[in-house]
């Protein structure tokens, strides 16, 4: 069922997006296709950057004259332009399937009516997204900003009334301001450029995914790259003027197979960096792909995890990264609850302020100002956040106790100001509190070998035949590689089909007993680029169960024979 394109009462902010959404689906699919790359100028100051010039010119005009008769003028306006130049490619079974270069610019305009205490940032008043011209043509750039500003102001005016009407339905005990004041920052960094020769990379994708030929039971084997140069422009009526660029290079390989009982087995390996030089060489990538294939084969032959286990579990720093990211990272964000709700924040730490959320030997800092650690670039590095606030290092958990939240410019109870963590999700959404570089540190550490020894000691004390060692986790904290560590001789045995019964914020607080002196740096390129840095961890007790997963049928007929080896 389809709807006709027509003029109606829909809000204007995304008019151009809607228009494009109305072109045939075929063409919309092409939005994931390539585009010509234009040489980008390197500007060094705000004055000779046409994008910033256009943004400032329209901002000035709107500040001085944008007002509907009988209605309040805006008290705040900001413009955010995201310029993305991306290259995406994918190879499956040794052959290229996708290879697209795409460049686009998005504009987001926020107009706020009311005041810092109570304003129009609600529903449609939160601004929309428009395509922005790609050419550095002042008339065209300003025209788009002009249209978007006009509709954002009208939407804001209506949104304020709607919000006030809504608020009348609730009793608010401790009102919190809607918008935090912030010192305007002027920071003109270089624009990001995507400048690389794609040929060797495409060859690497094909060569690595061609390794499927070594194992007839592989069902899929893909390699993909997503390289992007992202330049962000921000101006606000408070005086902020920001330009910043970041490159993201993401390369990954993934394979699937099935055990003879039908259990689906997945493995993937990714490399996400901000400097292309840090990506693996072809030899390294092929070696890693070969290793990944070998683990898939080992998994196929591995025994299934026992149905019951309650005992010590050791997580490698890699596996622990997923644990900290999910159970701490998501909960230290100062997200304002929905209108009328009395909680301090959303998330599991909403009532944990000044309470213990981790063992007292652990502390957590988020420091977006760090560019690298142990020679690895950090993706969560930035100078100014997407709300024009200077990035600062924030200590969120001290000696196990939650002492702060990561804040954008939307205050929550007792946290009236931003600490420079308001960041927009790519391609461009509303900015909100987000991780930068989250670093988990411990006051007491042991070597990974000592942790393994400790795991075995606990098993022996409790007369458990084995403990578990987790090497890596997949989505939803499902173990991808998990080993039984036998207490009698310390040997490791790969198992499949294990899941955790109670790996949550409570066990993280109460049952984490020791920490390694190793460090894993994990860059997360998707949505909001960020990094998580942490050591390996040992739990005194966790429940590990047999997954209740469907066992799919094996393919109904064998894979085609490979003609060329």
């Amino acid at each position: 069922m389809t709807t006709i394109q027509r003029s109606d009462g829909r809000p204007r902010p995304s008019a151009r997006m809607q228009k494009l959404a109305s072109v045939p689906a075929l063409l919309i699919a092409l939005l994931f296709a390539s585009i010509c790359v234009q040489a980008k100028d390197t500007q060094t100051s705000a004055d000779d950057d046409p994008v910033l010039q256009a943004m400032r010119a329209e901002l000035e005009r709107s500040k001085s004259a944008l007002k509907l008769e009988g209605m309040a003028a805006p008290y705040y306006i900001d413009y955010h332009v995201t310029d993305m130049d991306t290259h995406a490619a994918e190879a499956a079974f040794g052959a290229l399937r996708t290879n697209v270069r795409l460049r686009f610019r998005f504009l987001r305009v926020v107009v706020r009516v009311g005041d810092y205490k109570q304003d129009s940032f609600f529903g449609q008043g939160q601004g929309g997204l428009d395509f922005m011209p790609l050419d550095n043509d002042l008339v065209a750039l300003r025209h788009e900003i002009w249209l978007a500003t006009d509709s954002a102001y009208k939407a804001a005016t209506e949104a304020l009334t709607a919000k006030q009407a809504r608020l009348k339905q609730f009793t608010v005990d401790q009102p919190v301001d809607d918008f935090a004041r912030a010192e305007p920052v002027v920071s003109i960094g270089p624009a990001a450029k995507l400048d690389f020769d794609s040929h060797p990379w495409l060859k690497m994708l094909q060569d690595s995914s061609a390794l499927y030929k070594t194992d007839a039971q592989i069902e899929s084997f893909d390699s993909a790259l997503n390289f992007a140069a992202v330049t962000r422009y921000f101006v606000s009526s408070e005086g902020a003027v920001v330009r910043s660029g970041q490159n993201v290079y993401d390369l990954r390989i993934a394979g699937t197979t099935q055990a003879s009982d039908g259990m689906r087995l997945d493995r993937s390996h990714g490399y996400a960096v901000t400097d292309i030089k840090e990506l693996p060489s072809e030899e390294k990538l092929l070696a890693d792909a070969t290793k990944l294939l070998a683990t898939l084969e080992q998994l196929r032959d591995a025994p299934i995890a026992d149905e019951e286990y309650r005992g010590p579990v050791l997580f490698s720093a890699d596996a622990a990264s997923t644990v900290f990211s999910d159970l701490v990272g998501e909960n230290v964000l100062g997200l304002k609850p929905d209108l009328g709700q009395p909680a301090r924040t959303k998330g599991a730490f909403a009532t944990s302020y000044k309470s213990r959320v981790l063992p007292d030997f652990l502390s957590v800092v988020d420091d977006p100002t760090l560019a690298s650690m142990n020679g690895r670039s950090l993706m969560g590095k930035y100078d100014v956040d997407d709300e024009g606030v200077k990035a600062v290092s924030v200590s969120v958990i001290e000696n196990g106790k939650l002492v702060n939240y990561l804040m954008g410019r939307e205050p929550i109870r007792d946290f009236p100001a931003s600490n420079g963590h308001g960041r927009a999700r790519l391609p461009q959404n509303n900015p909100g509190p987000s991780l930068g570089n989250m670093i988990v540190r411990s006051s007491e550490t042991s070597s990974p070998e000592a942790l393994k020894k400790k795991l075995i000691e606990i098993c022996q004390q409790r007369e458990l035949p084995y403990g578990y060692y987790v090497e890596t986790l997949g989505p939803q904290r499902v173990p991808r590689l998990i080993y039984k560590v036998w207490a009698k001789d310390g040997h490791e045995e790969l198992v499949r089909g294990a899941i955790f019964g109670d790996l949550d914020t409570r066990t993280l607080r109460n049952d984490l007993i020791a920490v390694g002196n190793d460090v894993n740096v994990e860059n997360h390129p998707l949505n909001i680029p960020h990094s998580v840095i942490n050591p390996s961890i040992l739990f005194d007790e966790l429940e590990v169960k047999r997954a209740n997963a469907n066992k799919d049928k094996l393919p109904d007929y064998p894979a085609p024979a490979v003609a060329s080896k």
């Binding site: 394109q5 072109v23 699919a29 790609l134």
Partner: protein, 574 residues
């Protein structure tokens, strides 16, 4: 709802800008070297052999592979907004389990027969075979599961009204069109055209929003089936769509769209004609802003040929699609009207996908083979007002057990009966120059204060499901009040044509002589497909219009940048 719209994407470029044609191998040579189709046939054969041993076994498997080279360039205010170029190769794997009489596609389960995926872009037959294998065993599971459900459902439910089989018996087809695809126009040239045309509206302060969209596509499709069909065909189109929008003081959004479509860029109009059309768009919009809002009205009306063509596409064409005669949820307006009068006897309607041009205009609905590998056939659907046939895919309906080459879909979707080139002809005509007078005569005869002339439309939609009223809505953009007393015609805005199909079509009194063509993209269950509709201008004794819902937002508060008198900074208009 189904729709036809002319305001979608696509491209113009002059032939002299084209890259030189690629020197292609002779057709026979190309066929021999077609690694892709060889891999398709080999995998199809393997699937047939191996899956054929299972229970339930497939009785039909087909592979369709679409090799598309597409470009889309969007310009606005003289700048590029998007410029996208993509090569894609996708495969649709169809598996039918059971028997032609009852299979997994029955009733609501049609989607269970199709699985799609991306194929390698190059000639690596190992990789192509592996992806086809993945898609095929996945699709077989979906199909066999659906088939079990179908068997149970047909036992549980009461017998359906139409007991036709689920798949028609047809002769396998063999066709190998390895003609060189027309080359894609140079992207930089497209970009320059988008910039140049879109800059044209910069000088109008009242045109708030405008776009120039150029799009081009060339496609080679390959189809093989276990029945032995082997069809390779090619197609190409280019479209240029120009949109401009303003807003009346009461908030009504007013839009003008011009589209130009052709098989290749050299068939598009010259720049002078296009800029003349843009100038008319600008003056139309200016007049529309000042025009009064029309009132609901029911009375005589004249539809231009283009307006009448869209009217027939929406109101009649969609209801002649074969599968709509069978679905238990469908309104089935015409199902039992075969050999009965459904139109005035002076009107006949054919759907002719084999027609490549009409009156010198390229027809968007031209094709040689449909997506089920069946040859396109000219179908006389209505002759002298009497319903004769439907637009058939390989889904049979009562009394129509064969495809007539109208099984169409966009890549990735299951085929249904669709329109190609719907052409309306008339034996009761008058000179086009006399139609306005005939309208005035009709107004006087009915004693109405005025009649309406619909000069142009932007599209429309129609509802065919039983749960909804069987109504249609046509969205005109240029509507004139014609007065019987000699006053000049008056432009009005803000109305849509509404009605129900059987009532509306029998109000046609007379037609003009000149057949006009509307090319557009049509969206329905099987996706977006290029179509044409062609008709002469038509005089209706009665057309009903209703007020159009519109935004209440005021026009922009500030003048556009560069039109602000108080401004001295950069960014002034040229």
């Amino acid at each position: 709802m189904k729709k036809l719209f002319g305001n979608s994407a696509l491209l113009c470029v002059l032939a002299i800008f084209l890259k030189p044609a690629l020197n292609g191998a002779p057709a026979g040579e190309a066929a021999k070297n077609d690694v892709l189709i060889a891999a398709m046939q080999q995998e199809l054969h393997r699937a047939q052999g191996d899956l054929g041993k299972l229970d339930p076994a497939p009785y039909f498997i087909s592979y369709s592979v679409y090799d598309q080279d597409s470009a889309m360039v969007v310009g606005s205010q003289g700048s590029l907004i998007n410029s996208i170029h993509a090569r894609r190769r996708s495969a649709d794997v169809i598996v039918r389990v059971g028997t032609a009489a009852l299979d997994n596609t029955h009733e609501e389960n049609r989607g269970s027969a199709l699985t799609s995926g991306s194929l390698p872009l190059g000639d690596d037959s190992d990789a192509i075979a592996h992806v086809l294998w993945q898609l095929t065993y996945g699709e077989y599971r979906k199909a066999s599961q659906a088939y079990l459900n179908v068997k149970t459902t047909t036992q549980v439910h009461a017998q359906e009204e139409d007991t036709s089989p689920d798949f028609s018996q047809e002769t396998p087809q063999s066709h190998a069109d390895y003609e060189d695809l027309s080359p894609q126009p140079d992207r930089h040239i497209l970009e320059e055209i988008a910039r140049r045309y879109s800059a044209y509206f910069r000088k109008y302060s009242y045109i708030y929003s405008s776009n120039v969209v150029l799009a081009a596509q060339t496609m080679r499709s390959r189809f093989v089936s276990t029945e032995g069909s082997h069809v390779v065909s090619t197609g190409a189109w280019v479209r240029l769509a120009i949109e401009a929008e303003t807003r009346a003081d009461d908030g009504m959004e007013l839009m003008r769209v011009e589209t130009f479509q052709a098989e290749n860029p050299s068939h598009l109009p010259a720049e002078a004609e296009i800029t003349a059309r843009m100038e008319k768009m600008a003056s139309d919009l200016k007049a529309l802003r000042a025009a009064p809002v029309a009132e609901p009205f029911d009375g005589p009306a004249l539809l231009s040929g283009r307006a009448a063509a869209v009217f027939f596409h929406e109101v009649l064409g969609h209801r002649l699609e074969g599968h709509r005669q069978r679905g238990e949820q469908e309104g089935q307006t015409f199902t039992k009207k075969v050999n009965q009068q459904v139109l005035p006897e002076f009107l006949s309607v054919t759907d002719d996908p084999t027609a490549r041009t009409l009156n010198g205009v390229d027809l968007g609905g031209w094709y040689e083979y449909d997506e089920e590998g069946m040859p396109a056939v000219r179908v006389e659907v209505i002759k002298d007002g009497i319903l004769k046939s439907f637009l058939m895919s390989r889904m049979p309906i009562k009394d129509f057990d064969k495809s007539n080459g109208h099984g169409r879909a966009q890549a990735g979707l299951m085929v249904t009966g669709r329109q190609g080139n719907l052409i309306v002809t008339s034996s009761h005509t008058t000179k086009d120059s006399e139609l306005r007078q005939k309208l005035i005569d009709e107004i006087k005869k009915q004693g109405k204060p005025y009649g309406l002339y619909f000069e142009d439309i932007q599209g429309g939609f129609t509802l065919t499901q039983r749960a909804m009223p069987q109504s249609f809505q046509i969205l005109p953009v240029l509507v004139w009040r014609v007065y019987p007393d000699g006053r000049p015609d008056e432009l009005v805005r803000g109305v849509d044509i509404v009605g129900t199909p059987l009532a509306a079509m029998n109000r046609i009194v007379l037609t003009g002589e000149k057949v006009e063509v509307f090319n557009g993209m049509c969206g329905a269950e099987s996706g977006s497909v290029p179509v044409s509709a062609a008709a002469p201008a038509m005089l209706f004794s009665e057309i009903e219009v209703q007020k159009r819902a519109h935004s209440l937002n005021r026009p922009p508060i500030l003048p556009p940048p560069g039109f602000d008198a108080t401004e001295t900074k950069a960014g002034g208009r040229p």
